[in-house]
Symmetry: C2
Amino acid sequence: MAVNLPPVTDLLPVAGVRVGTSCAGVKQNVRDDLVVMSFGPGTHVAGVFTQSAFKAAPVTVCQRRLEGVEPRAFVINSGNANAATGARGVEDAERCCARVALRLDVPAESVLPFSTGVIGVRLPVEKLEHGIDAAVQRLGEDWAPATRAIMTTDTGPKAVSRRVVIDGVDVHVTGMAKGAGMIKPDMATMLAYVATDAAVEPSCLERLIRDANATSFSRISIDGDTSTNDSFMLVATGAKAVTIGSARDRGYRALKQAVTDVATELAQRIVRDGEGATKFVTVTVGGARSSREALAVAYTIAESPLVKTALFASDPNWGRFCMAIGRAGIAQLDTTRVSLHLDQVCVAEGGMISPRYTEALGAAVMAQPEFSVRVDLGRGRAEETVWTCDFSYDYVKINAEYRT
Amino acid sequence: MAVNLPPVTDLLPVAGVRVGTSCAGVKQNVRDDLVVMSFGPGTHVAGVFTQSAFKAAPVTVCQRRLEGVEPRAFVINSGNANAATGARGVEDAERCCARVALRLDVPAESVLPFSTGVIGVRLPVEKLEHGIDAAVQRLGEDWAPATRAIMTTDTGPKAVSRRVVIDGVDVHVTGMAKGAGMIKPDMATMLAYVATDAAVEPSCLERLIRDANATSFSRISIDGDTSTNDSFMLVATGAKAVTIGSARDRGYRALKQAVTDVATELAQRIVRDGEGATKFVTVTVGGARSSREALAVAYTIAESPLVKTALFASDPNWGRFCMAIGRAGIAQLDTTRVSLHLDQVCVAEGGMISPRYTEALGAAVMAQPEFSVRVDLGRGRAEETVWTCDFSYDYVKINAEYRT
């Protein structure tokens, strides 16, 4: 069902990053479901995590450990989210980390855990320990097996690379992500990992991840439902002879562009693979008084069930768009200044259907698998864009049959 | 698809109220789609309306006219919402009112217009004028034909009566409502009319409608989408020899109870008839620090697509409930104090699945067409209840095929 989800090709290895996978059999024994990522000494890591009050145990452990020693490894399982599992969930996550630390001969505190899958069920730690042993033996520079091992309801893997030359050195940026439902990242999304072989100082890396996240994972919504496990991690191994010490360094802008490109591409691929998605839609709201106002309207449109079913039906339903704009909580909106475009077609202006508009024009735009919805509020200069998908029979089918 | 929607039986006439219907042919010529309600002299009317920035033309006209002379009639059409129609929409609504005024020999300003149906399309005024003439000729005391004429995607009419004795006088309260989708009333819902033959002073009537609305129409959500046309009107004809001058009068409490009963029953029937609904679910959140906090969690649960698809699947999915609780924006929530009950079955306590809980117990509750979800946040004494329904294949089907 995915909408123009590109296959994973030409992933660049990242010097200082090794990746191994195995089948731990968390839910079934049919495919790999465990990933170990190992980083060389001197690596710096930054992360952003879900704002959910029901943070999963691995998120709690990650956030605590990021304040301590530099991470040397990640351990990631699919099939079980280790969320709503209480103090035992934290112990289970720590036991998995300890096994990785033992096999890699690094401090236990330097291993960060990540989980995705069923919520509220205890992690099968013994299975995972066996899986960790196997994954460590398969560590190598190829990310491709890991892009599949982290999947849950995803129909395909999401990964992309960028190459950028900084100070004459060839720097690689490679990222992978998973997620197809329970997607409205609140600061971060369900499991995304981006690594570079440049060296980036910790404070600079923090700024870099926040900048890249703000216009990528924080601008997508599939169903408005924020996960308990969202994590976006940025790894800088420093294995290449390029050091970025501050945002004023010459290389910062080039690296930020590459990391943001990778993060945005991954975020859009998550939406393309949205549960049941048949359309990939770019919603832009301009003419707003503030970024906050533009985002309020954009998300109300992107998450309205009535708009999303109209997107599914390829129905250029001006009534549902103005319903969503109307309920977005914008005080003193002058609706006679509001306009709506579908791609280049002007559907409404001055708060009413445009005299030049015909249903055939709107329907032709919406028959495409990808198009843009552009609203102008006519009251300011702020503009924001979010990406979303439609609401189909298959969304209901997938979520009435799958136990998250 | 409606969930235990009771048939309309034993509606009580309200002295001073006459109702007439006709087929104006707004969309089709197969059924009545126009209603005129006429009130005797001395009638007082109060209303609450949608908070949407895209208020429909009839809402604008109603709000303005309620500040002037006492209303003597309502004119209601289904099939066209007269919303997002600009200044011409206001003129069209006023023309319909003028025709009613002419036929009833009352001031034009004393007629209030209401519309429901397709958004963004001009009202077919000439058809409506003919329909108004016919409806006026059929004015009588029976509300039943009107309960059907105001329907759009509703599968059945919603109306109910209460009888209350005040100061030895038999007072009637009768109400009708329509609505099945685009239902998250923000102060009011899509077309609800409640009338009593008691006399109620205007300021007292204002208080009565706000009190009744707060715990009825303002506590339901089908899809989280607020309409452009929501209107809840309370009519007191004063045709019976009972006068309520203030909230301190002996009869106020009895009348308030009857009006609130009627409004709550109508609101619940709208949810029972929710588009594609197969479950009627009462969501109660207690142990909150404030009413606002309890409502935030209750609405996040009631509107989460992942919770709603789990309700459809009869899947007692603790993970999705804690996802929704987690993203409801409650600061510093101690999740280890959160519990969840489905009817009397304790699913989770202390933030985790209860040791006594089995899937079979939860599944048995959710297999019923009606059940309650009760969350306790364990941090205060405030409690609120909202009513909602599930999200089924038919919700998508109805909204992918119907042009609102």
